[in-house]
Each structure stands twice: as C-alpha cells, then as structure tokens.
C-alpha cells in the first residue's frame, strides 16, 4: 500500500465546532447564573458573533495591495487574458506585506480531495511503500504533490517534505540534509510553518522571526540524544541539529493580476510553466536556471536556536491562467533543467504518472538516487 494524504480542509468544521463550544459555555454560564431565557439567547448570539469577529481579527489582515489570491484557481481572480511579455515585466513587490491572507471567497467552499486509487501505482515499476501521493482540487485547478523515497528506503525514511494549502495557494518543499540529525522532521516543520504563516517577502526581520517560530515548532524529540549508554553517536548530531533547504511559494494578487511570490533557500527549485498543455514553456526557474548550478554544498537552514543562518531570495513572477507552479527538490530539479523537454512531464494527468516516470528515470541512472519530491499547483483557466 502506498500512503496518501489529502487536504484536511478543516477550517469551517473547526469554526463551527468552536462556535458550538462557545454557545454551550455561554448557555451553561447563563443557566447557572439564573438569568432569563431571552438574555440567554442574546448572549449566545453575541458570543457567536464575537467568535467570528475574533476569528477574523486573529487572521492576518487582507487589505494588502499584494495579497494571497483566494483559492489559487478560484473564479474570483480576474484573468488578464494575455501573458506578460517577459519576466522583466513582473510587477514590483510593493512593500513587504506578508502572504498570509487565507480567507476563501466563499468560506463554505471546501477543497475537494480527489483521492485517486492506489492501484494506479504500478508495483512492477516501483515499490509503493516508497511513494506518497496527495491530490486535491480547488475549483477547476489541480493541486497535487508526491514524495518518493530513495531507492532502498521506505517513505518513512524520506527526508524531503511537502506542504500545501490549495485553498490559499501556498505551498512549500524542503529537502532535509541526509548527513544531519533529525533532517526529515525539520524539513517537515519548515514546510508546514511556511504554509501556515510564511514570512514577509524581503523582510530580514520577518524571516528571522519566522525561522525562530519553525525552530520552536520542531518537536524536541526529533533531535534528541539517544538514551542508550552506547549512543555516543547521537551526541554530535543532537548538538549540531538538522539542516534543510526550502522553497516556498504563494499565489498572490497584485491589483487585478495574479503573481507567484517565491522564496528560495538552497537548491530546491520553483518553476513557473506557461502556455497551453503540450506546448508549455518555462516562464521562470528559481533559484537555478541550469543543471550545472547544482553543487554539493547548497545553502541550508539549521534547526538549532540562535545559530546564524543564510538568507532566502525572494522573487515575484507574473502568472497567467492555466500556468503551472511547480516546486521540486534538487534531484528532480537538476534532471528537469538538464533538458527543458522534460518539463512535458507535467502535461500528463497527475502524480501517479509523474511518479512512475521519475522512478524509471532514476532506475536508468538519469536521476541520482535521492529522495524525489514535487508539488504542482495549476492556476485555473
């Protein structure tokens, strides 16, 4: 069996549940305080209203000129109908507003999890134990991700991580450094932290604060020393902590158009593909544009508190309806950039086909034996 995860999409459920809890608490308080029934009803309604106001207040403000596109592929986004002439026309990144706005156009619209059957994973091609596929859709757009463990490893040993929120159009891929301690959990924490609350673009202070939050969010057990008396080997690793690259992206609106705001640190890459299916071209490739640029010492983020860290690069890329935003870990990215025709990989129907091709290429030695991770978001036409 391969493992799958779908977008949980529990915001509305959580809201309703919390509202119910608030109502019950208010009801109990009013019952034991011997007040009239009318007051109780008013109190419940007030509490519900207060909760929704509070909920809106604790979410980041949505009144930025550059804001997350509600529902990356949602109908609310105006289509410009034409592609920007070149990347040089990309809109300026106004201010340093955080891409942290998450209200969907219609809060009642939940992402549809299209849970494809695992049987489509061809066991003759690869060990399904080593693959994890996640698919969902938002409106008419496709969103999916896949992780493939190194040949010889199970998916639990995969040190790449991916997180995405199709509703808000935020996604991230991180590649934990294999020679560090607790790399998988650290990569996982970084991607979740990015999707949950990305740092403000171009703000050194915000990134530093964001990294601090990620380090705090990393479960302490992930990098702990072994309690085995013979566990000397865990001492150094636990002191050094884990290291990981990260690439994150958010679909945002700038005026009437959508842009992809991309944060890169290390050699995990982001690609914006444009044009009709079957004839797509790479509009932008970040941070590398050539397979020769990959080396053995990428920039990394460490998990230990108060350690110096590299700064990410931020880029804003214009998009057009139907564009694909692809994030990939280094081995996949290097393979893609070595031959641009390989981007046709994304003309297919979905993650299973892509997983099969990637594993076949890895078996052929065209992709190095590494964890392989891809996240794809297709902007609605």
């Amino acid at each position: 069996m391969s493992t799958r995860s779908g977008d949980s999409g529990g915001d509305l459920v959580a809201k309703l549940a919390l509202t119910a809890v608030v109502a019950v608490v208010v009801g109990v308080v009013s019952a034991v305080s011997d007040v009239g029934g009318v007051f109780t009803v008013v109190a419940v309604l007030a509490a519900v209203a207060a909760f929704w106001v509070l909920d809106a207040a604790i979410r980041p403000s949505s009144d930025h000129s550059l804001s997350l596109a509600p529902g990356a592929g949602g109908a609310a986004l105006a289509s410009t109908g034409t592609l920007p002439a070149s990347v040089s026309t990309q809109p300026p990144l106004r201010g340093v507003e955080p891409p942290t706005v998450g209200e969907p156009v219609n809060p009642g619209t939940r992402p549809v999890v299209a849970d494809k059957q695992t049987a489509t994973l061809d066991p003759s091609l690869f060990d399904p134990q080593s693959v994890e596929v996640s698919t969902s859709s938002q409106g008419t757009s496709r969103v999916f991700s896949l992780r493939i463990a190194k040949h010889g490893n199970g998916i639990a040993e995969c040190e790449d991580a991916v997180a995405l929120d199709p509703r808000r159009g935020v996604l991230a891929v991180a590649d934990g450094a294999s020679s560090s301690f607790g790399a998988g959990p650290w990569a996982d924490t970084l991607t979740k932290q990015f999707v949950q609350a990305p740092p403000k673009p171009l703000s050194v202070a915000s990134f530093s604060e964001w990294l601090g939050q990620a380090r705090h969010a990393l479960p302490a057990a992930a990098g702990a020393e072994s309690d085995d008396p013979n566990g000397w080997w865990s001492e150094h690793g636990a002191r050094q902590g884990a290291f990981s690259t990260i690439v994150g992206a958010a679909i945002m609106t700038d005026g009437g158009s959508r842009v992809a705001t991309v944060m890169c640190l290390g050699d995990s890459c982001a690609f914006v593909l444009t044009g009709p299916r079957g004839d797509r071209v790479v509009r932008r490739s970040l941070p590398y544009e050539d397979s020769e640029q990959f080396g053995s010492h990428p920039a990394l983020l460490g998990s230990m508190a108060d350690r110096a860290h590299d700064e990410p690069t931020w880029t804003t890329v214009p998009t057009a309806p139907g564009d694909l935003l692809v994030l990939a870990s280094d081995a996949v990215s290097e393979w893609l950039l070595a031959d641009p025709r390989r981007f046709q990989l994304f003309d297919g129907d979905g993650p299973d086909e892509i997983a099969g091709r990637l594993i076949a290429e890895r078996t052929d030695g065209k992709i190095v034996n590494d964890d392989l991770t891809v996240a794809v978001l297709e902007l609605a036409s």
Partner: protein, 281 residues
C-alpha cells in the same frame, strides 16, 4: 565517474593501511607524540565522523552506509610479515565492519574535553584502533590484502563508489616494490571508476613543509617521493574541491599524496580522502 552517491543500495568501502613498524614509535614532526599514536587517534576520529554521518535520529542506530577496514602491517621477530585487521567487532565480515556495528562496539568510550569558541566541550570519544609499532614495513603484503578486500567488495557492490584505500606510512616498503602492487590495486574498478589509492608519508623530527596533493612529480625532491606520486590516484573533483577548502593549492590533476606530513597534514589528508561522506545526501 566518481559520482555515485552513498546509500543503502550503494554503500561505500574505506580501507586504511597502517604502518606499524618500529619507526612509528618516533615522534611525529613538530610534536613529542609517537607517529603511531597520532595515526591511531586520527583514524578513530575519522571512523567516528563517518558513523556520525550515518546517524539519522536517536531512535535508529547509525545506518550501514560505510564498510571500514583498518589493516595494520609490520613484521614479527622472525622478520615475517604480519598483516591483519586492527578492528574486530561482532558482525564484521572478514576485514570489513559496517558503520552500524562499529557504532555499537568500540573497544571503549573515553570522556574527553576540547576547547571551542564557546568554551570547553565535553564529548565521548569511541576507540577502535590502538597504536602499535614493531618490526619492518611489509607494504606490498598490505596492498595485497587491500586488493583482496576491494576485489570482493566490488563483486558484491559493482555500482558503488569504488573502494578508497588510504595508506599511512613513515618509510619505504621492506618486502618489495610497492609501486607494482599499487598498480595492481588501482586496476580494480567499480562501474563508477577505478579504485582510489592515496598515500601519506609521515615526517619525523624537524618540521618540513609537507608536499600536499601535488599535480606533478617534477616538483618533488627525491626518487622515493616521485615513486609515491606514481602510486597515488588523482583526486576526483569533489575531493580536490575539499582539499582547496582545507586551504591547499590542489591544482587540477592533484594526486592523493602527501610527503613530510605533519599533524595538520594527517588530519587534512584524512578529511579529503574520506570526503566521500559528502556523497551521502
């Protein structure tokens, strides 16, 4: 060539040949410590670092990404060659021990302290290799032994990065022409390239400038140094980069060779020669 990553399916093999002749008791150049003690200490550190690279979390023992062999060579009182493994741990297969088994079975663990920029740091130092110095230098027999280990390894893991043999000595071979045996060794190859043989000649007495990673024999003084150059493999590009990062002018074509090696040279040489650990990604 020399690009295969290190993982479970394609583990890496490291063979250290250690001169245990009587002269290894003499102090290392610039120190009062016997060369045999310096070498044992640095080998223990190297094995420790390899194991640390295989450690993923506290819940899982270090993975078997590296198979390590340490072969000592000396002669006994009858001048017969004594060539044998310096490491004996449970689970060892012949002369090779996996990092997983090495991690669990050091001879002992010592409590140490070292100075860091943040003050003294206490740490545990596992010991596998003890210093020894006795008799002559049967280097040819040692290379023969390394060849047997490497040949068997390549049969089992043909796709792996080729075996790396690092020879640490302080003198010339006393059992024949080592260059002949070195040539035999480097004829072995995996699908990723020929076996890599690196040689380090330890200096005794006054400190001389070590010749590190030369790319031409012309700049080397004596006949013996030139022979050592011939016996040593060219560094793969990532190792040459590692040498440059260590502060050495390793030009393209640089060989894995060091003459007149002092303490720092030994440390750097082992770092560069085992930088295959960086292929573990």
């Amino acid at each position: 060539m020399y690009t295969q990553r290190v993982d479970r399916a394609t583990p890496s093999c490291l063979i250290f040949l250690v001169d245990q002749s009587a002269s290894m008791y003499e102090p290392m150049a610039g120190t009062e410590t016997p060369k045999s003690v310096v070498v044992a200490e640095q080998l223990n550190s190297t094995v420790m670092e390899l194991i640390q690279r295989c450690s993923k979390s506290h819940t899982e023992p270090p993975r078997p990404y590296f198979a390590v062999s340490v072969i000592g060579y000396r002669t006994d009182e009858t001048a017969s060659a004594v060539v044998d493994t310096c490491i004996n741990v449970p689970g060892q297969q012949g002369d090779l021990a996996w990092t997983t088994d090495l991690a669990q079975h050091p001879l002992r663990i010592e409590d140490r302290t070292r100075q860091t920029s943040d003050g003294p740091l206490s740490y545990r130092m596992p010991i596998w290799v003890e210093p020894l110095n006795e008799g002559g230098t049967p280097m040819c027999a040692a290379m023969d032994r390394a060849g047997r280990i490497a040949h068997s390894w390549i049969q089992t893991y043909p796709q792996s990065f080729p075996p790396i043999v690092i020879n640490l000595t302080d003198g010339e071979s006393t059992d024949g022409d080592a260059a002949t045996w070195a040539a035999r060794l480097t004829q072995l190859e995996s699908e990723d390239g020929p076996l890599l043989l690196f040689n380090i000649m330890l200096a005794t007495g006054s400190v001389l400038t070590p010749a590190m990673f030369p790319n031409s024999a012309n700049q080397l003084g004596d006949q013996f140094a030139r022979q050592l150059f011939t016996m040593s493999s060219e560094l793969p590009e990532f190792m040459r980069t590692a040498a440059v990062r260590q502060g050495y002018q390793a030009e393209p074509g640089a060989r894995g060779m060091s003459m007149n090696a002092d303490f720092r040279a030994v440390v750097s040489f082992l770092n560069v020669g085992t930088s295959v650990g960086h292929l573990l990604r």
